[in-house]
């Protein structure tokens, strides 16, 4: 299926920079690295219980990105949709790359935070390919 998409749902964290890193990574994936393979959706729409979106997510692969251990996107999507196909946490990347201490500033993001977003985005994009591969394997 050529119109097959992996849905990317970053948490809507706005309190700290970690939510912003996750969201920026999501934009890099959807706008650049896996442009035709992915689609973004508003997490709050799912929180609100919008039926069409929930049905679409049930029928497609879903990747969630969270900005802190509260894991809002993971928990909300699991609750509403009943599954998540892959999950990422921006704080894991921050721990992996201690040389890139993210700046606190959110608007605009600092240089290190941007670099961390790109590293996270690359991991997510490779997961997108894996999930689509899995789908193709399942179709055979």
């Amino acid at each position: 299926m050529s119109d097959e998409k992996v849905y990317i749902l970053p948490c809507s964290g706005i309190g700290k920079v970690f939510g912003s890193i996750g969201r920026e990574a999501a934009y890099i994936v959807v706008d650049e690295l896996a442009k035709d393979k992915t689609k973004l959706e508003c997490l709050p729409l799912v929180v609100k219980g919008k039926k069409e979106i929930i049905e679409t997510l049930k029928a497609n692969k879903v990747i969630v990105i969270d900005g802190c251990p509260m894991r809002c996107s993971y928990n909300d999507i699991t609750e509403a949709v009943g599954k998540v196909d892959a999950q990422f946490m921006s704080t894991d990347i921050v721990k992996e790359r201690r040389d890139l201490k993210p700046e606190k500033q959110i608007i605009p993001m600092g240089e290190n935070a941007k670099k961390l977003s790109l590293i996270l985005a690359e991991k997510i994009a490779s997961k997108v390919n894996e999930l689509l591969e899995e789908n193709r394997g399942g179709d055979e």
């Binding site: 809507s12 706005i14 508003c42 729409l45 929180v47 509260m70």
Partner: protein, 140 residues
């Protein structure tokens, strides 16, 4: 009562709409710059029903039950207002980003990822409107 309670600012923060990005930026301007002493920011996805023992959103919901809240909506879906109303009670005020966007057609944001100079000016206008609401609520 000598100390007035802080007002909770809940931006829908939707990732898939330009209005969501503006709501997020405006909320941060209010909480960081315009009314730092009178407001706090709350993450909208923490209002999701169920799974609170895993999820940890009870504190946010309780805060919103006992404090006035202002929701900021990126589009007509009104995700923040509905989530807050469902789980904590109706917000004291709701700001619709699109109404302010229509007032300033000359201020066009670059994209939902990067607001750019004009987009940030627009976010500031939205923030001023929110700050005005904060003052109104404080003067009641």
């Amino acid at each position: 009562m000598s100390v007035k309670p802080k007002i909770g600012i809940i931006a829908c923060s939707g990732e898939n709409e330009i209005g969501g990005t503006l709501s997020r930026a405006a909320a941060r301007i209010v909480v960081e710059k315009l009314r730092p002493d009178n407001t706090v920011i709350l993450c909208q996805p923490l209002f999701m029903a169920g799974g609170l023992e895993r999820h940890g959103g009870q504190e946010e919901r309780d805060f919103a039950k006992t404090h006035p809240t202002i929701t900021i909506e990126g589009c007509q879906e009104e995700c923040a207002k509905i989530a807050v109303s469902n789980y904590s009670g109706p917000p004291a005020a709701t700001i619709h980003v699109q109404e302010i966007m229509e007032k300033y057609p000359e201020l066009q944001p670059e994209s939902k990822r990067e607001l750019g100079v004009a987009g940030m000016k627009l976010a500031k206008k939205i923030a001023e409107k929110i700050a005005q609401k904060v003052d109104e609520l404080y003067n009641i």
